[in-house]
Amino acid sequence: MITHPFTYRAPSTIEEAVAALGRSRDAKVIAGGHSLLPLMKLGLAQPDALVDLRRIASLRDIRAEADGTIVVGALATHRSIAEDRTIVSKLAALAEAAAAVGDPLVRARGTIGGSLAHADPAADEPAPVLAFDALIRAIGSKGKRDIRAGEYFKAAFETALAPDEIVAEIRFPAQTGRTGSAYVKFAHPASRFAVVGVAATVTLKGDGTVERAAIGVTGAADAPFRAAQAEKAITGTKGDAKAIAAAAAKAAEGITTLSDLVASSDYRRHLVTVYARRALERATQRAQG
């Protein structure tokens, strides 16, 4: 039951949508509605206007560009991402994160654009978006811009997006060489959000040493983050169990972890290290392929 009134429109171009957003003070975009509508039902969000993106078909696409960039439209649902062949083979961590969102019914409606715009600190997809160094392409009244994942997430439910900006697509740079990735998650038993979720990508050199690793962590802190110390520690190693464990132990360094009924701050910190290790192990195995 939603008790506060609002207007609704579903424009068919992104420009119209941007314009509609500018027209009222508390206007909000609605995509899959799986974060926004629960909040509206609880009276915790009370927009006066909803601008539905669903008629803007181009935002739904998942495609590979000539240079290998994989472009995921903001309206791509978690389900379509998890099932997409290109993503499963090239961006396994993203496919696994999308497949780990909520439950099948949530995945059928919820979108990656919505997840990134909403920026719930316990959302799954921010982790691989960070780990793959993706670009978030936003379109607003001032035009189009690409925001680097590393600069996008500011705090819980806060992003670099301007109020009249719409996420149009998420651009994942081509994964080169021997690269593997993985996402692993410790889910909240009831809400199913991430208590801790870790995405890792690992690129190996010809001799098997780790050329580059990126670790995106969600659920643990006020905002998703890159585990920079752990990444540094694993780079240049052989990617063996010992090196991975040593690196993973640094995954929560310098981070203030959240505390709630399910996991205290200490426990979350511990989970970050365990899940970082598991993600790195799996990503490395895949890179070794």
């Binding site: 039951m1 939603i2 008790t3 009276g43 410790f186 038993p189 009831a190 809400s191 009924l261 399910v262 996991a263 205290s264 426990y267 511990h270 989970l271 365990v274």
Partner: protein
């Protein structure tokens, strides 16, 4: 005389008669009832757990569009108080008004009601009611509530003590003096939220002096009685209908404020009124379950023989006593604590306490899961202490099969039982012998694996009426049934039980079909409507329906059968002693082609021109059945878990159970009851907890925090059964509705503790959440971790 001998349908996996409407969306649930001109109620609930109500300002709410009325407790006093049906000795009863007037005693206590033209309007207006509260000190913990100086929930009482309930037998002091070993445990049986999938709802209409109330209830007859008494209506002018009810588990075993409120409003406004609970509202306003803290001491000999059991428990009753609440931690708990064992000395003192929390009443198992938890955890502690296999400790202490009927030390008489075979079969199913190998394999993976046993006994049936009365139960333990055979031979069974998932339409039809020599498809079972009922029905709870309600259907069917035989014999000019009732026909034994159809007999009964001398016309029977004793089902459940050595996450990997509920009417339904019950018990062990902060705020206040198990949280279940008939009823049936919940929780708990026992961990409290287990492992030094 000629008792039914065939059991064509009893014991068969007859498909459910309920299903066709429920799989097509045709079932009518209370919230599906919409009537012309209907208005909607929304309740204003206190956000404070304890606060004096200084002033309620309804002006703004009244001005909201669509509002019909805004009413405070004073204006709703005509609803009368909510009933409590059980009085135990020394009980301090609380006055419980549907809408409180003086103070709010828990977060969720209703303080005003809004009526409006739509649900949205009612909710908006409820938000606009402003209440001036004076917050008072809060007490959440039951033990603290009994300490001097604790905030008093009901000021007229001076203390929060609801009752002290002692039960003793044998010489416990001596038992402890003579003991080689004594084990001590503090057990927390945490508070749970029942979570029937259908939220509560109530719809009332008042027409031509008659009140009709649709309600999500397990006990329509009690609701009818109280609504009639409280609202000043003649009972024959109050019709309560429990249509499809979407699960209850005790949470709908109440007369709730909202039922009285919609009834009163329908009567005074002259318009149909609906109230539907929202889930988060229900977490506050629908009863909770469990919430015991027990200090348990067990005295034993080194060979495992139990000598005595001493228990001191405080039960958190919440802010008010609900309908059956006083009986749950007492009658349904204390007596069965000795369980399946011969325990020569027993000393139990149960105290109940008021706190500023949601009232606690019956939740599936209601007192008995707490009993099984006490004794089954204590036995495992003993086994650990003396270094004996927990299965062996159980074997050594079981009441032997030849000792039944058995008088327990707590004063019960167990009807029948044979506990060892159920244990042995469960052990075999669970490959108990091969377990240590699996433990070692898990250890190699860095994990901890454990196996846990629980051999429970439970009480079903809450009868006979005289015993109920002696125990303080303010109502009889009987049930009622009527069977009406129409002239065409169409058969209707009316039952006083009120199912909400238990498949009575099917089981009752099976029972009647065998007695009447027809098929379940020939029989319609009707329930849940006080205007159609055979008489005063008691309802469906406490696994009583079959052992009481099913038997009364059997008895009514036997009565009808007797008359069918008499008429058949008369028409066939044969002796009643030679008649066979079978396959929809009545015939002389050995001459099946010279037969009268069932329909011929019923027609003859109503034509009434050729009946045996002195026989009344018609073909129907009404029976009230008051069983001579409770029944005591039992069984053994075995759980196997594997704990992630790094995170503490517990996975339930195997589950086996061998249960004995006497004769099974429909094994398919029995298994279904077990699956569901086991899952709820697993929920308590691993996932569920209602958690309050010190201010009495429910932190696990929605399904986003409170974890109701999903399909991924439970394994496939391996079930087996033994069949020890009860001697207390003619079908030999016991009850199975709660057994799963009672047996499973201690099995899982014992498995988790067994897994952690190599680390020296002796006990942890439920639920075994990952962090709790991880901390225990860390504290224990994590020996054996990688």
């Amino acid at each position: 005389m000629t008792a039914a001998t065939t059991t064509t349908y009893i014991g068969a996996r007859v498909p459910r008669k309920e299903d066709p409407r429920l799989i097509t969306g045709d079932g009518l649930f209370t919230d599906d009832v919409t009537l012309p001109g209907m208005v909607y109620v929304s309740l204003v609930r206190s956000p404070h757990a304890h606060a004096r109500i200084r002033r309620i300002d309804t002006t703004a709410a009244t001005e909201e569009p669509g509002v019909v009325a805004v009413l405070t407790g004073k204006e709703l006093e005509a609803t009368g108080a909510l009933p409590v049906f059980i009085t135990v000795p020394s009980m301090n009863g609380s006055k419980h008004m549907p809408i409180t007037t003086d103070k709010a005693r828990y977060a969720g206590d209703a303080v005003a009601a809004v009526v409006a033209e739509s649900r949205d309007a009612a909710k908006r207006a409820a938000d606009a009611v402003t209440v001036d509260y004076e917050p008072l000190p809060v007490v959440v913990d039951a033990t603290k509530a009994l300490e001097p100086g604790a905030p008093i929930v009901h000021e007229e009482m001076k203390s929060n003590l609801v009752f002290t309930y002692p039960v003793k037998g044998g010489d416990v002091d001596k038992a402890f003096r003579d003991a080689d070993v004594k084990v001590k445990l503090r057990l927390v049986n945490q508070r749970l939220i029942p979570n029937a999938m259908e939220p509560r709802a109530a719809v009332a209409k008042f027409e031509a002096g008659e009140l009709t109330l649709w309600s999500t209830t397990q006990i329509p007859h009690f609701v009818q009685l109280i609504v009639a008494l409280n609202l000043g209506l003649s009972q024959n002018k109050v019709r309560v209908i429990a249509p499809e009810v979407g699960g209850g588990f005790g949470s709908k075993l109440q007369v709730y404020a909202e039922e009285l409120i919609v009834g009163h409003l329908a009567k005074t406004l002259g318009r149909p009124v609906k109230w539907t609970e929202e889930r988060r509202e229900g977490y506050l306003a629908t009863i909770h379950g469990r919430d015991h803290v027990s200090d348990v001491e067990l005295a034993a000999k080194r060979d495992g023989t139990i000598l005595g059991l001493r228990v001191r428990t405080v039960a958190n009753m919440g802010a008010y006593l609900q309908a059956f609440a006083p009986g749950i931690p007492t009658i349904l708990h204390v007596f069965v604590v000795p369980g399946a064992y011969r325990i020569p000395a027993f000393d139990y003192e149960m105290r109940g306490a008021y706190t500023n929390t949601t009232p606690v009443d019956a939740y599936r198992g209601a007192g008995r899961p707490e009993s099984a938890y006490v004794i089954e955890r204590a036995i495992d502690r003993l086994a650990d202490e003396i270094g004996m296999d927990p299965a062996e400790v159980r074997r050594r202490n079981f009441i032997p099969a030849d000792a039944f009927p058995f008088n327990t030390i707590s004063g019960l008489t167990y009807d029948s039982g044979d506990y060892a075979p159920a244990l042995e079969r469960a052990l075999a199913m669970a490959d108990y012998k091969g377990f240590e190998k699996r433990r070692a394999e898990a250890k190699a993976r860095g994990n901890y694996r454990g196996i846990g046993i629980s051999s429970y006994v439970e009480i079903c049936g809450l009868a006979p009426s005289k015993a109920n009365s002696a125990l303080g139960v303010g109502w009889g333990g009987y049930e009622s049934a009527r069977i009406r055979v129409h002239p065409t031979g169409a058969v209707q069974v009316f039952t006083g039980t009120s199912p909400h998932g238990q498949s009575h339409e099917t089981s009752w039809a099976q029972i009647a079909a065998d007695a009447l020599g027809i098929t379940p498809n020939d029989i319609e079972v009707r329930h849940g409507d006080t205007f159609e009922s055979p008489g005063m029905g008691v309802g469906t709870f406490g696994s009583r329906s079959l052992a009481v309600g099913g038997i009364e259907v059997h008895k009514a069917a036997e009565k009808v059968r007797e008359k069918v035989i008499q008429i058949g014999a008369h028409l066939l000019e044969a002796s009643p002693d030679d008649m066979v009732v079978e396959g929809g026909k009545v015939f002389v034994k050995g001459v099946p082609d010279k037969a009268k159809n069932f329909g011929d007999i019923s027609m003859a009964a109503y034509l009434a021109n050729n009946l045996p001398e002195g026989m009344e016309p018609g073909l129907e029977a009404t029976v009230y059945y008051d069983p001579p004793n409770f029944t005591f089902p039992f069984g053994t459940h075995i759980a196997e878990v594997e704990i992630d050595g790094e995170t503490g996450a517990v996975e339930l990997v195997n589950y086996s159970a061998c249960d004995d509920c006497g004769r099974q009417i429909n094994p398919m339904i029995v298994e279904g009851q077990l699956h569901g019950g086991i899952t709820q018990g697993i929920g308590q062990a691993l996932y569920e907890a209602a958690i309050y902060d010190d201010n009495g705020q429910l932190l696990s206040g929605s399904m986003m925090e409170y974890h109701v198990p999903t399909a991924e949280n439970v394994p496939a279940f391996k079930l087996d059964h033994t069949m020890t008939l009860t001697t207390t009823n003619p079908l030999g049936v016991k009850g199975i509705g709660e057994a799963g919940t009672i047996g499973s929780t201690p099995a899982v708990a014992n498995a988790v503790i067994d897994a952690l026992s190599p680390l020296g961990i002796k006990h942890l409290d439920m639920p075994f959440t990952p962090e709790k287990v991880w901390r225990a492992i860390e504290t224990a030094g994590g020996e054996g971790r990688r």
